[in-house]
Assembly symmetry: C2
Homo-oligomer: 217 residues x 2
Amino acid sequence: MPSSVPRRRTRKDPAARRAEIVDAAAGVALREGLECVTLRRVAEELDVRPGLISHYFPSADDLVAEAFGSAATAETDALLPEEGPEGTPTEHLARFLARTTGESYDAISRLWINARHLSRYREALRERVAVQEAAWRARLEGLIRQGVETGEFRTGDPLVTTLQILVVLDGLGVDVNVGEEDLPEAVTCMAFRTAERELGLRQGTLTRVAESGQPSG
Amino acid sequence: MPSSVPRRRTRKDPAARRAEIVDAAAGVALREGLECVTLRRVAEELDVRPGLISHYFPSADDLVAEAFGSAATAETDALLPEEGPEGTPTEHLARFLARTTGESYDAISRLWINARHLSRYREALRERVAVQEAAWRARLEGLIRQGVETGEFRTGDPLVTTLQILVVLDGLGVDVNVGEEDLPEAVTCMAFRTAERELGLRQGTLTRVAESGQPSG
DNA sequence: CCTGCTATTGGTCGCGCACTCAATAGTTGC
DNA sequence: GCAACTATTGAGTGCGCGACCAATAGCAGG
C-alpha cells in the first residue's frame, strides 16, 4: 500500500508566484501576526510545500519583512492616498484622522505594534519598518505642506507638526491588544485637537469636517 | 566510563526559590525580551534544571506574566515612588517626565512594547499588563490630584489629564526598537508641553524644574 | 541515626520551526 | 514528439520549545 500518491503540481511564473507568496504572507501577518508568517504557515495558505517558499525566500526573515512591507504599504495608500483626487487638505486630514481613530484601524495598529516589537530581533524587518515610517511621515507631511500653501494651515515647521500628530496617534493605538477600556472622549480626540492646535485651526474644525465628510453610512 | 556524574543539588525554601526564579525571569525579560523567558533560559540563569522551573510554574505563561509584573513594578516604583518623601508635586512630575524621556528609560519602553504585543497571544500576560497599566495610571493620577489640592495644578479632570500625558509618553516611546533617529526638540519635549498645558502651568515650568532638579551629575 | 517528606534531577515525548538537497514533473522550444 | 529547463516536491536534519514523570538526594523531625 503506497501511502502517498504523488501530488498534483501547478507550475507558475516565478514573478507571479512570488507575488502570490507575499500576498498570502501579508494576509497572515494582518490576521494572525508577524510571528505566524512561517514557511509552513504560508505554504499551507497557498496549498504548496514549505520548500517552495524557501525557494523564493532563502531567508525567512526576508519574507516576514516583505509581508509587513506589503501590508503596511497597502494600508498607507488606503489611509492617505498619494494624490488626493478631490477635496481640500483640511478635508483629507480630517478623513485621515477619523480613519486612524476608528475601530477598523485596530488591525493596522496591531500590525505596527507587532512590527516595532519584532524589529528588536529581526534586522530585515527593522529596516523595512524604518522605510515604512519614513514613507508614512512623508505622506502626512506632504499633506500638511499642501495645506500651508493653500493657507488653510499655519505652522512654523510642518515636519515637527507631522511628528507631533504621529506621536499622538501612536500613543492612542498602543493598547489595542490589551484594552477592553473605553477612553474618555477628551482622550480619543487628542489627535484632532493636536492637529487643530498645531495647524492654527479653530478647535473642532477637523472633527466637524470629519463628521460631515462621511455622512452617508 | 560513566559519562555523567550526578549533579550537586542545592535545596532551597520554596518561597525563596520561587522569588529567585521570578527575579531571574524578570532580568531576562528586561535584557533579552519576554519571548526569551523560557523554562530552559531561566533555568540556565540560575544553574538549575528546566524541570525545576516547571515545578514552580506548571504553565510557562504564568512565569512570563510574573516576570513582566515583577520588572514593571520595580520600574514603576523607581519612576514614581508611592510616597514622595520630599518635594512638591510639580517637582515630582518634572522628575518623572525627565526620567521617562531620558535614554535610560529605553529598556522600560522596550519591555512595555514587548508586553503589549505579546499580550495578543498570552492571556495571563494580557491580564497582568492591564493591572500594571491601571497601577501606573493611578500613581500618576494621584500625583496630579495632589498638585491640584495644593493649588499648583489646575485641571478640570485629573484622570483625563493623566491619560493625555500617558498617551504622549507612549507615543514617544514607540520607536525604541527601530529608531536611529534624533527627533527635534519640539517633539521630544511634547510630554512636558502637554503636562504644562493641561495643568495650567506656564510653558517651560516643568522643563526648568527638571533641569534644576538634577543639577549635579 | 534513620525515616519520611519533597525539592530537584535526568530523561523523554511530541511539536513547530528554518534550512538543505536530490529527485520529479510541468512547461517551453525545437 | 522529444529534449532541456526549472519550478516544485518529498524527505530529512537539527534546533528549542513546553510538558510530563519516575528516580534521587537533601533536609528536618523523631
